[in-house]
C-alpha cells in the first residue's frame, strides 16, 4: 500500500505525516506540488503547514498546484484523500469538501492537546476507531474555525459526515464543534487536529492518532 504525502512550498508536517504512514504499516511516497503524476499511490495525504505562506487565504494558492488536478481527479474516482490542518484548508479551497476554515475565535494561534470524539467510523480514514471513541491529539493552527452555511451544516449532520468533534470547550469557534468532515462518499476527509503528531507517547500526547493511518490499510483502494 503506497500513500503519497504532498509537499507544497511552505508545507511543514510532511515528514511527520510520512513517518506516521510508515509506522501505520503503509509505505510513504513523497509527492511534490509540481508533480505531473501521482507515482502510482493508493491514497494521498495533504499535510499541515503554511503552504505559500497562507498569505492570500489558507490553501487558496495550493489549490492551483499541478498535483491538485490529479488529486481532484483521483478523489472523484474514490481514492482516499486525507487533508490535515492546512491540507483540510486546501481540500475546502479545492471544493473537495464544503465550508471554510477561518481565524480562531480568539484570534491567536493555538497549540494544545485536544480531546476529540470520532463520530463516523465508516470513512477510509476512521475505520480503525469505534464510534464515539475519544482520543487526545495535538491541535495547532491559527485558522481552524470551521464555518459553513446552515444548509451545508444540516446536510453534513444529516448525512453523518461530521467525522470528529471537539470535546469540551470549543477551542476555535467551529460550528457544531466540528473538528473534521468527509465528502459524501467517505473517501475524502479533512481534519483540523494532527493525528500524525500522536503516534507514540514519546513525542506526542498519546498514540491515539495512529488509527487514521491504520484505517487506510482497510480501505478499498483503486
Amino acid at each position: 500500500m503506497r500513500v503519497g504525502v504532498i509537499t507544497f512550498p511552505g508545507t511543514l508536517d510532511d515528514r511527520d505525516a510520512a513517518r506516521a504512514v510508515n509506522v501505520g504499516g503503509a509505505e510513504a511516497v513523497a509527492l511534490w506540488h509540481a508533480d505531473a503524476d501521482l507515482k502510482n499511490v493508493d491514497a494521498v495525504i495533504l499535510p499541515g503547514g503554511f503552504s505559500y505562506g497562507d498569505y492570500l487565504r489558507c490553501g487558496a494558492i495550493s489549490r492551483f498546484a499541478p498535483v491538485m488536478n490529479l488529486v481532484i481527479e483521483a478523489a472523484g474516482k474514490g481514492m482516499p484523500v486525507l487533508g490535515i490542518c492546512n491540507g483540510f484548508q486546501v481540500l475546502c479551497e479545492s471544493h473537495l469538501l464544503p465550508g471554510a476554515l477561518t481565524r480562531n475565535s480568539d484570534l491567536h494561534f493555538l497549540c494544545r492537546d485536544q480531546e476529540i470524539e470520532i463520530t463516523n467510523t465508516t470513512t477510509a480514514w476512521t475505520s480503525s476507531y469505534s464510534a464515539g471513541e475519544k482520543i487526545v491529539i495535538p491541535l495547532k493552527n491559527g485558522e481552524g474555525s470551521f464555518q459553513c452555511d446552515d444548509e451545508t451544516l444540516a446536510q453534513l449532520e444529516g448525512e453523518g459526515r461530521v467525522i470528529a468533534r471537539y470535546v469540551g470547550e470549543n477551542p476555535n469557534g467551529s460550528r457544531n464543534l466540528i473538528a473534521g468532515i468527509s465528502n459524501a462518499r467517505g473517501n475524502v476527509v479533512g481534519l483540523m487536529p494532527h493525528p500524525e503528531h500522536a503516534i507514540d507517547t514519546l513525542t506526542g500526547p498519546s498514540a491515539q492518532g495512529l488509527g487514521f493511518f491504520t484505517s487506510i490499510l482497510n480501505a478499498m483502494v483503486k
Binding site: P9, G10, L12, D13, R15, D16, R19, G49, F50, Y52, G53, D54, Y55, H108, F109, L110, C111, R112, P138, K140, G142, H194, E196, H197, L202, T203, G204
Partner: protein, 743 residues
C-alpha cells in the same frame, strides 16, 4: 544625489560627510581615512558605519570576551568555536549540533511583532549558514511590569511575532523564559535561540576562497527595510523618540525563509558551495566583507546586479539594507548551473553578483564605476576596539550591606497564602498563554518543552540520541553581584538539563546590558563575563559563541544586568530521560542539596519590592557533583522524576510538580518558611520508588550531596505540614494570572 565614486573621493578630500549621523565617532572617521589613504566614498562610509557599530564590531566588549578563549577548558566536543556564525559541538554518532542565542531587543520595542519575528528569522539563518538543519527554537523574553499598559502592547505583539515566524518555519519552540521587571519597561529583552543538527562532514564556513569562484546572492529581493538597523537601533540608547525609528526595523517573510531553508539544505547536500554567509545585521556590507576576509580577501561585486524590491534604492542603501531572508554563497563556476536549478525548483530568486579575485581588496562597482575599494578585514574584523572605563557602581556596597526584611509564613493559613501567592505571581505563573501560541510538535521529535526544566529534541529516530537545552538568567542576583550572578545562571542552566539526565556539553550566551559608556554598566558587564568565563573553565564547558546587546536603557535607567546563559547537553537515549514530575502516588520525595536562608534576590524579595542583600555564592564543584548524581540516577534508573529548584524555591518547585500530572503530595518541613522561600542554588527535588531508598542514599553519599526526605506523592492536594492546598485552588492560582492580564 550624484554617485560618489572612488575617483571622485580621491579628488574631493574635503567633502563634508555625515559620519556622525551614521553613528561613527570623529576618531573612527579619521581612522577610516587613514586606512584608505583618502576620504571614504559614501558607500564605503555606509559599510564602515554599520560594520563598526557596537552590534557588529563588539568594540566595547571584545577586550572582555577574549576571556572565553583564554580561559577555555579543554574540550574534545568543540568542532567550531567563537567567531563563525555559530559554534558547533560533537554530540556523537557522527552528529554535530550548532546553537546560538541572539538579541532583538530594540526592534521589538519599536515594532513588537516584526522585531520579534525577524529575531527568530535571523538566528535561524545563522544556524542554517553553518550547514545545519534548524530543529528547534527557544525564546527568553523579559518585559516591564506585567500590569503596565505598555506591557500589554509589547508582550502580545512579541509573542505573536515569535509564534508567527517560528510556526511558519516549522520549528518547534521548546522553551524559554518570561520575566517581568520595571527596568525592562521601554527595553523589553527578546532573545532568540536556535539549534540545528548536521553530520560532521556537512559543516560550512563563511569564507570566499578560490579566485574565479562566483559570489551568488539568493533569497528575497533587497528592499528599503532595516536600513542601518544595527547602527541606529541596536547601538544607541533610546531617547523619547523611540517609535520614530520604525523604518529601521526589518519586516519578515517566514514563508520565504522556509523555502530558503529547504532550498539551501538541498544545495548543501549536493556540496555546491565553497562558503556561505547569511545576510542579517548590516546586510550585504557584512556578508561581502566577512566572506572576503574569511578567504584570501579579494572579491569583486557588481552592486547594480542585486535584485531590488524598490528600484529607487541608492547603492549606499543597498549596502546597508537589512532586508530579511537573503543568503550569499561562494560557488564554483561549474556548479552554478545545478545551483540555479535547485533555486528554480524552490522559486527562489538567485543572481551571481560577483566573483572571488586574487589580491586582498573588496571592490564594489555600480554600473561599472568603482564605489568601494577596501581591505575587507578592516571592515569586518579590524574595527575599533575600546577599553572603556569601568567602575564598581556606588549602589553595590549600599545594597550588599542591607539585609532583606520579609514576612516569613509560620501558621497553616500563612503557608497556604504564601504558596498560592507565589504560584500566581507573574514571574512564576503558568506560561501556557504564551507557549500555546507556539507550535511545539512540528518535526515530531520534541521530547520535552515548556514547562519542563529544559527543552529536549530527538536527533536520531533509530538510535534515540537527543539534545537538551536550557536558557537561564537571574538578573536579581546579577544586580547584587554580577560575577556570582553569571556563574549561578550557568550552574542553573546546566542543572536544568542534567535534571532530565542529559550531560552538559557547551555554552552560548546573550549578554544584555545598559550603555557601555556608563562605567558602572561596563563594570557589571566585565564582572559578568569574568564570572561566566571562570565558571565555564571550572565546569569544563566551552563557550561556543554568543551575542552582546548594549544600550538597553531608556534615558539614564539601565536594565538589570541580564546575562542569559544557554547550555546544551546530550542524552544517548531520550526514552530513558528523567521526567520533570511523577505520575503515580506512593513515591518518596527527596531534596538533593542544601537549603540556607538565601532570600536576597529571591522572587519573594522581588514581590516585596526589595532588591538588597548578598546573592548566594556559586559552589560549582558541588554543582558538578550534583550533576553526576543526576546523570547516574538516570542511568541506574533510580529516579521516577527530578525537578530543578530556582526562582520561587521549593514552593514553586512543588507547585509545578504536583500540577504537572495532577498528583498531589504530602510534605513535612522543618523551618517551613525558609524551606519554602529560600532560593539556595544547587538543589533538585527527586521522586523515587520506596525500594530505591538505599540506592539513592548511596549515590548521594558517594558524591557528598545532602539528601533530605520531603514527603510522599499522592492525593488531590499539596499538603505542607498542616497546610492543605487543594490541587484545584492551586491550579486556579497558577493558571489564572496570564489570561487575566493579557486576555
Amino acid at each position: 544625489m550624484a554617485l560618489d565614486t572612488v575617483a571622485i573621493a580621491e579628488t574631493t578630500p574635503d567633502s563634508i560627510q555625515p559620519f556622525a549621523q551614521l553613528g561613527l565617532k570623529p576618531d573612527e572617521y579619521a581612522r577610516i581615512k587613514e586606512i584608505l589613504g583618502r576620504r571614504p566614498t559614501s558607500s564605503e562610509l555606509a559599510m564602515y558605519s554599520v560594520m563598526w557599530s557596537e552590534h557588529c564590531s563588539y568594540k566595547s566588549s571584545k577586550v572582555h570576551l577574549k576571556q572565553f578563549g583564554d580561559k577555555a577548558p579543554k574540550s574534545d566536543a568543540l568542532l567550531v568555536g567563537i567567531g563563525e556564525n555559530a559554534g558547533v559541538v560533537d554530540v556523537g554518532q557522527g552528529y554535530a549540533v550548532t546553537f546560538k542565542i541572539e538579541s532583538h531587543n530594540h526592534p521589538s520595542f519599536v515594532e513588537p511583532y516584526q522585531g520579534a519575528a525577524t529575531g527568530v528569522g535571523g538566528i535561524v539563518r545563522d544556524i542554517l549558514t553553518m550547514g545545519a538543519r534548524p530543529i528547534a527554537v527557544m525564546d527568553p523574553l523579559r518585559f516591564g511590569p506585567a500590569d503596565a499598559p505598555d506591557t500589554r502592547r509589547v508582550l502580545p505583539g512579541i509573542v505573536a511575532g515569535v509564534g508567527g515566524y517560528g510556526n511558519c518555519l516549522g520549528l518547534p519552540n521548546i522553551g524559554g523564559e518570561v520575566i517581568f521587571d520595571q527596568t525592562y519597561a521601554g527595553n523589553p529583552l527578546v532573545n532568540a535561540l536556535c539549534v540545528g543538527v548536521m553530520k560532521h562532514s556537512d559543516i560550512k564556513l563563511a569564507k570566499a576562497a578560490g579566485a574565479g569562484n562566483l559570489v551568488v546572492l539568493y533569497g528575497a529581493k533587497t528592499g528599503g527595510d532595516g536600513i542601518g538597523g544595527v547602527s541606529v537601533l541596536a547601538s544607541e540608547t533610546f531617547g523619547a523618540g523611540g517609535s520614530t525609528k520604525r523604518p529601521s526595523v526589518q519586516v519578515g517573510d517566514p514563508f520565504v525563509e522556509k523555502v530558503l531553508i529547504e532550498c539551501s539544505l538541498e544545495i548543501f547536500a549536493e556540496d555546491l558551495v565553497v562558503g556561505i554567509q547569511d545576510l542579517g545585521g548590516a546586510g550585504l556590507s557584512c556578508a561581502t566583507s566577512e566572506l572576503a576576509s574569511g578567504g584570501s580577501g579579494g572579491m569583486k561585486v557588481a552592486l547594480d546586479k542585486v535584485p531590488l524590491r524598490d528600484p529607487s534604492l541608492s547603492p549606499e542603501e543597498i549596502l546597508m539594507s537589512e532586508s530579511q531572508e537573503r543568503m550569499c554563497a561562494i560557488v564554483e563556476p561549474e556548479k552554478l548551473a545545478r545551483f540555479l536549478e535547485i533555486c528554480a525548483k524552490w522559486d527562489v530568486t538567485v543572481t551571481a553578483i560577483g566573483e572571488v579575485t586574487d589580491g586582498d581588496r573588496l571592490v564594489i562597482t555600480w554600473n561599472d564605476e568603482i564605489i568601494v575599494n577596501v581591505p575587507p578585514r578592516t571592515v569586518a574584523h579590524e574595527g575599533p576596539v575600546y577599553n572603556r572605563p569601568l567602575a564598581q557602581p556606588a549602589y553595590i556596597d549600599e545594597v550588599n550591606a542591607q539585609v532583606v526584611q520579609l514576612p516569613i509564613p509560620h501558621t497553616a493559613a500563612e503557608i497556604k497564602a504564601t504558596v498560592l501567592e507565589l504560584a500566581g505571581t507573574p514571574n512564576l505563573a503558568d506560561k501556557s498563554w504564551v507557549t500555546s501560541q507556539y507550535d511545539k510538535y512540528v518535526q515530531g521529535n520534541t521530547i520535552q518543552s515548556q514547562p519542563d526544566d529544559s527543552g529536549m529534541v530527538r536527533i536520531d529516530e533509530k538510535t534515540h540520541l537527543g539534545v537538551a537545552i536550557s536558557t537561564d538568567a537571574n538578573a536579581n542576583w546579577s544586580y547584587l553581584n554580577p560575577y556570582q550572578g553569571a556563574k549561578l545562571a550557568l550552574a542553573e542552566a546546566a542543572r536544568n538539563i542534567a535534571s532530565a539526565g542529559a550531560r552538559p556539553l557547551a555554552v552560548t550566551n546573550c549578554l544584555n546590558f545598559g550603555s557601555p559608556e556608563d562605567p558602572g554598566v561596563m563594570w557589571q558587564f566585565a564582572e559578568s563575563v569574568r564570572g561566566l568565563a571562570d565558571g565555564c573553565l571550572e565546569m569544563g564547558l566551552p563557550v561556543t559563541g554568543g551575542n552582546v546587546s548594549f544600550y538597553n536603557q531608556t534615558g539614564a535607567v539601565a536594565i538589570l544586568p541580564t546575562p542569559v546563559i544557554g547550555v546544551l547537553g546530550v542524552i544517548d537515549d531520550v526514552r530513558t530521560r528523567t521526567p520533570m514530575s511523577f505520575d503515580v502516588a506512593g513515591l518518596d520525595l527527596y531534596l538533593l542539596g542544601d537549603t540556607y536562608a538565601d532570600l536576597a534576590g529571591s522572587e519573594w524579595a522581588f514581590m516585596h519590592g526589595q532588591r538588597v542583600g548578598q546573592s548566594p555564592t556559586a559552589d560549582l564543584a558541588r554543582e558538578m557533583r550534583l550533576i553526576e548524581v543526576l546523570l547516574a540516577g538516570r542511568e541506574e534508573k533510580i529516579f521516577s522524576a527530578a525537578h530543578d529548584l530556582s526562582q520561587g524555591g521549593l514552593s514553586a518547585g512543588l507547585t509545578e510538580m504536583v500540577l504537572r500530572n495532577s498528583i498531589g503530595a504530602t510534605i513535612a518541613l522543618a523551618d517551613v518558611g525558609i524551606s519554602l522561600l529560600s532560593e539556595s542554588p544547587g538543589r533538585v527535588i527527586v521522586a523515587i520508588e520506596p525500594s530505591k531508598t538505599d540506592a539513592l542514599s548511596t549515590l548521594a553519599a558517594k558524591h557528598h550531596i545532602t539528601l533530605t526526605k520531603l514527603g510522599t506523592t499522592g492525593g488531590d492536594s499539596l499538603t505542607i505540614n498542616d497546610a492543605v492546598i487543594s490541587l484545584a485552588e492551586l491550579r486556579t492560582a497558577h493558571t489564572a494570572t496570564f489570561p487575566k492580564l493579557f486576555g
